[in-house]
């Protein structure tokens, strides 16, 4: 890889000339801002970014970025992005996708990208609904949600994104909220720097078809009590008054009050995002309100082989000792005979 040029960008440098067409009030606007901010911090020249997406409201994202962009077909962003990154590992490749795009039609490419740990950054806009097709339930919609295709309530269990990521051998999982630009920006930066597949779940609001679905945990008045922002190496404390924490109780997590039952900052769990064994991270990713606060931040971030690097290495190794160096060599290799 060549050295990053030292270029200073502002978010405006990443804005394309296209009108942004999301509904006023849609959470997608904030995500766009956060990503544009994050890119300015990476020291990567603009032309090295490729934004790939599927189909959905969120998947219109690449049009609004003044980078290389490819608006694909529904569900296939992870596969297209995998091809881009494998072909050219020098690009910073982003996969922009929705809960329907990534987890319904695109579920297979999603889990396989993760399994291979190819170095792409997947931003999954989870509004728990199909926005673009005007409001059908998605694989992350909760049981009972009434939508156009579930007028009497869905009878399906939703995926939990973090759980599926871990189940597919995921090495990086983070969660953020659309409107929290500061946290989001930080997470996108970490995702971009992580080598391997990074999955960031964004709790995103669809004002039109599923308004306020995350409000119960992300609402202004409640969010400090109902979410916890995890930071590697720091104790798992949350609450408006920083008065609550997480501890292990046997094999389960438990919310405790600092200063009660003998709990204090010292015996609260310390977040280890780098632990390869996903045990606690798995539980953290799965925490649900009201039993637990919902975990935000980088929940898991473990270094491992990345696919495209292994591919390049294997090629380099083999090339070194190869007797076949070009097509003419290949054509003449093996058993041949001459007619004269």
């Amino acid at each position: 890889m060549e050295e990053p040029r030292t270029i200073k960008y502002t978010p405006k440098d990443f804005k394309s000339d296209q009108e942004v067409r999301w509904c006023p009030g849609c959470g997608d606007h904030a995500v766009l801002n956060s990503v544009q901010k994050a890119l300015t911090e990476l020291g990567i020249p603009k032309e090295k970014f490729a934004f790939i997406s599927g189909i959905g409201c969120s998947s219109r994202f690449p049009y609004y970025m003044d980078t290389y962009g490819f608006h694909g077909i529904h569900g296939r962003a992870a596969a297209i992005a995998t091809g881009v990154k494998t072909a050219n590992p020098e690009l910073s490749v982003w996969d922009i996708t929705g809960d329907g795009d990534a987890l319904a039609i695109g579920g297979n490419h999603f889990i396989h990208a993760i399994r291979r740990n190819i170095d792409i950054n997947i931003i999954l806009f989870n509004n728990e609904i199909y926005g673009l097709t005007k409001g059908q339930y998605s694989p992350t919609s909760n049981r009972g949600l009434m939508t156009k295709t579930s007028p009497f309530g869905t009878v399906e269990e939703p995926f939990s994104v973090g759980e599926l990521v871990v189940g597919a051998k995921g090495k990086f999982f983070a969660r953020t909220v659309d409107s929290n630009v500061t946290l989001s920006t930080q997470i996108y930066i970490e995702a971009a720097r992580h080598k391997g597949t990074s999955v960031v779940e964004v709790l995103q609001n669809c004002v039109i078809f599923n308004d306020g679905i995350h409000e119960v945990v992300t609402g202004k008045d409640v969010r400090e009590e109902r979410t916890i922002i995890l930071k590697h190496g720091e104790p798992m404390i949350f609450g408006k008054e920083h008065d609550k924490g997480l501890v292990l109780d046997g094999l389960k997590l438990r919310v405790v009050k600092l200063g009660e039952e003998g709990y204090n900052e010292k015996n609260i769990l310390v977040h280890d995002a780098h632990e390869p064994n996903p045990g606690i991270q798995y539980m953290l990713a799965n925490m649900k309100y009201p039993e637990y606060p919902v975990a935000l931040g980088v929940i898991r971030s473990v270094d491992d082989h990345s696919y495209e690097a292994d591919v390049e290495n294997q090629i380099e190794t083999i090339k070194k000792d190869a007797t076949i160096k070009c097509m003419d060599d290949l054509l003449m290799s093996g058993s041949t005979w001459t007619i004269d």
Binding site: G69, A79, G83, K85, A87, H109
Partner: protein
């Protein structure tokens, strides 16, 4: 080497090796063809094996065969009927007896014709009697017993001993055609360099068979097929799948691009992925995808990123790729989609050949969605047309579907090795980094290709995608823009016609009947036409490799013949296509949908019938 005095010369001969799936018939056939090729014969081979990995031993369903056709003059097909059949068990006889020419030679392993095996093969009585083979030259050789004897001092386990039976049989055939053993011996020395006792055992069995044949004299006369007057040069054997892989590699080298293949295994296309996966020495990035959709989508990503991108599959896989081919059409990215046709519909007859994916290749997508379609016609010209597919894709910024088939994929023939310097240059229309802002759908005024801006190039940042766009890449629902873009995409594909060769007729330029074919049937159709011409009929052949667009002179060629008949291995898809494209002419049809190639006899009979009608 052969001491037998009676020697007859023949123009050509067809030999079929046949046995149980585990009997090593594919290797036997390959070794025989290699020897024949090195001797200078022209040849064509075809392996034919069951869909099951190991179908039940001893049954007809489990028979694996390998046919070799070699000649003193040009050979275009593996042959319809065989002169010599090697049958390692009764099932092999059962499966092939009716394909032996009257009076032909049948060598069989008499030790394997036990009552149990005879019954398993579905015979009630003595197979030879039941097959009514009295006029044939039947050689009942106790092959199993003889390899056991020959190898008794080797200390090999009985299984390994019996595994050399095929070499004994091969030895017999070598004697019959007075061939040298040396190439086969060298093969074993190399292959089993680390297990010299196995190499030796095979060589001993081979020689035992050779001397046995010499001894029994039942095989006489020895048949000689002199070398064919083939062009001078360096040759190798090649099968269609390898030739396809190599054609793509050659195109990548000529274009100065890296080759990326994103594929999911499927019979009979897997060989292409396998060959390219082995070509890390040439820097190929081979991606075994989780499914066919990921295969093409990773390829599209790689194409967007600036590689020569390829995906390979067979019928059902092409169906799965349809939606993404549409995206490639809309994004106007170069990509080669190789479809190795097999028997359909659905899973169909996965190991058999057919030409029934033509309509799917042409039209199997939503919307007005034109792609270039070309078809290879012999195992070795898979190289040529794979190269062509890549050249057209890259220079015209379009997906190209290359059709081959199960027959081409597995069949082999000698190939005069080309030199890279003789292949045409490939010059993709890269965007000029100074022409800013880059307009992704601005087109070359001549061939209507858009320009290719590779991510990583400063200043050419742009967005493409599956929604309809203006020339600037802005999403647009403007009615007139859509119509214009639909026409541009169609026009771009049509313009490819200017860069492909004219149709050349095989035979006279006019006549009573024009036989029309496409793709993998060429060898059969050419042979049939040659024979018909020799018999005095005014028949010529127009064989198509470029399907969409077609050569510019087609209508003119068609018009020079009184009748046209389209022969294909389906119910008439190309005939229908011609009715659409050249509706001024009428077309007769010859169709076969049996999972098998044509026989020359079928073609000739159908042609003669048409000729006699008038």
């Amino acid at each position: 080497m052969a001491k037998n005095s009676k020697v007859i010369e023949r123009e050509e001969v067809v030999i079929r090796f046949s046995g149980d799936s585990g009997d090593g018939m594919q290797l036997t056939g390959t070794l025989f063809s290699d020897t024949a090729a090195l001797f200078g014969n022209d040849l064509s081979t075809f392996p034919d094996y069951p869909a099951e990995i190991r179908a039940p031993q001893g049954t007809v369903g489990g028979v694996s065969g390998f046919q070799v056709h070699l000649g003193h003059s040009e050979v275009h097909t593996p042959g319809d009927y065989s002169d010599v059949l090697v049958a390692m068990n009764p099932a092999a006889l059962k499966a092939n007896a009716k394909w032996v020419k009257p009076g032909g030679t049948i060598i069989y392993d008499s030790n394997n014709f036990s009552d149990k095996n005879i019954e398993k093969a579905g015979y009630k009585n003595d197979p030879i009697a039941e097959e009514n083979l009295s006029g044939y030259n039947i050689i009942a050789a106790p092959i199993s017993q003889m390899v056991r004897d020959a190898l008794k001092d080797f200390g090999l386990d009985p299984k390994s001993v019996l595994r050399t039976k095929n070499m004994f049989a091969l030895g017999m055939v070598y004697w019959l055609f007075s061939r040298k053993l040396i190439y086969t011996e060298q093969y074993f020395d190399k292959k089993f360099a680390k297990k010299p006792e196995i190499a030796e055992a095979n060589k001993v069995a081979l020689r035992a068979g050779y001397y046995y044949a010499e001894t029994i004299e039942a095989l006489s006369p020895v048949i000689k097929i002199e070398p064919a007057p083939i062009a001078r040069g360096l040759y190798r054997n090649i099968c269609g799948n390898t030739a396809t892989a190599w054609g793509l590699l050659a195109a990548a080298e000529k274009a100065g691009l890296n080759l990326f293949i994103g594929s999911y295994p499927i019979t009979p296309a897997t060989g292409i992925l396998e060959e390219l996966a082995a070509r890390k020495d040439l820097g190929v990035k081979s991606f075994q995808a989780e499914d066919e959709i990921a295969g093409i989508c990773t390829a599209l990503g790689a194409s967007f990123a600036g590689n020569l991108a390829v995906t390979s599959t067979s019928g059902p896989g092409l169906a799965l790729k349809s939606e993404a081919i549409g995206l490639a059409v809309m994004a106007e990215l170069p990509i080669v989609v190789v479809n190795v046709q097999r028997g359909g519909p659905s899973t169909g007859l996965p190991t058999k050949t057919e030409q029934a994916d033509l309509m799917q290749a042409l039209y199997g997508r939503n919307g007005e969605c034109p792609v270039v379609v070309i078809a290879a016609s012999t195992p070795h010209d898979c190289f040529t047309y794979a190269f062509e597919a890549a050249r057209i894709a890259l220079e015209h910024m379009t997906p190209v579907i290359l059709l081959t088939d199960g027959y081409l994929a597995n069949g082999t023939e000698p190939w005069k090795i080309p030199s890279m310097k003789d292949l045409p240059e490939i010059k993709p229309p890269f965007a000029d980094p100074k022409e800013i802002p880059f307009m992704p759908y601005k087109r070359d005024s001549e061939n209507l290709a858009r320009y290719w801006a590779i991510p990583g190039t400063p200043g050419l940042e742009h967005r493409i995608g599956g929604l309809e766009k203006t020339i600037k890449g802005t999403v647009s629902y403007i009615p007139e823009n859509h119509e214009l873009m639909v026409q541009m995409r169609a026009g771009k594909v049509a313009k490819v016609a200017a860069r492909i060769p004219d149709m050349k007729v095989y035979g006279e330029n006019s006549g009573d009947l024009l036989l029309i074919g496409w793709g993998g049937t060429r060898g059969y159709l050419m042979t049939a036409v040659s024979e018909l011409q020799a018999e005095g009929h005014k028949v010529s052949l127009a064989h198509f490799n470029y399907i969409n667009p077609m050569p510019l002179n087609v209508a003119e060629v068609f018009g020079r013949f009184k009748n046209r008949v389209v022969a294909e291995l389906n119910l008439g898809q190309f005939a229908d296509y011609l009715r659409m494209k050249y509706s001024d002419f009428s077309y007769r049809q010859i169709n076969k949908v049996q999972g098998l190639p044509f026989t020359i006899r079928e073609i000739k009979e159908s042609c003669i019938k048409i000729l006699e009608e008038k």
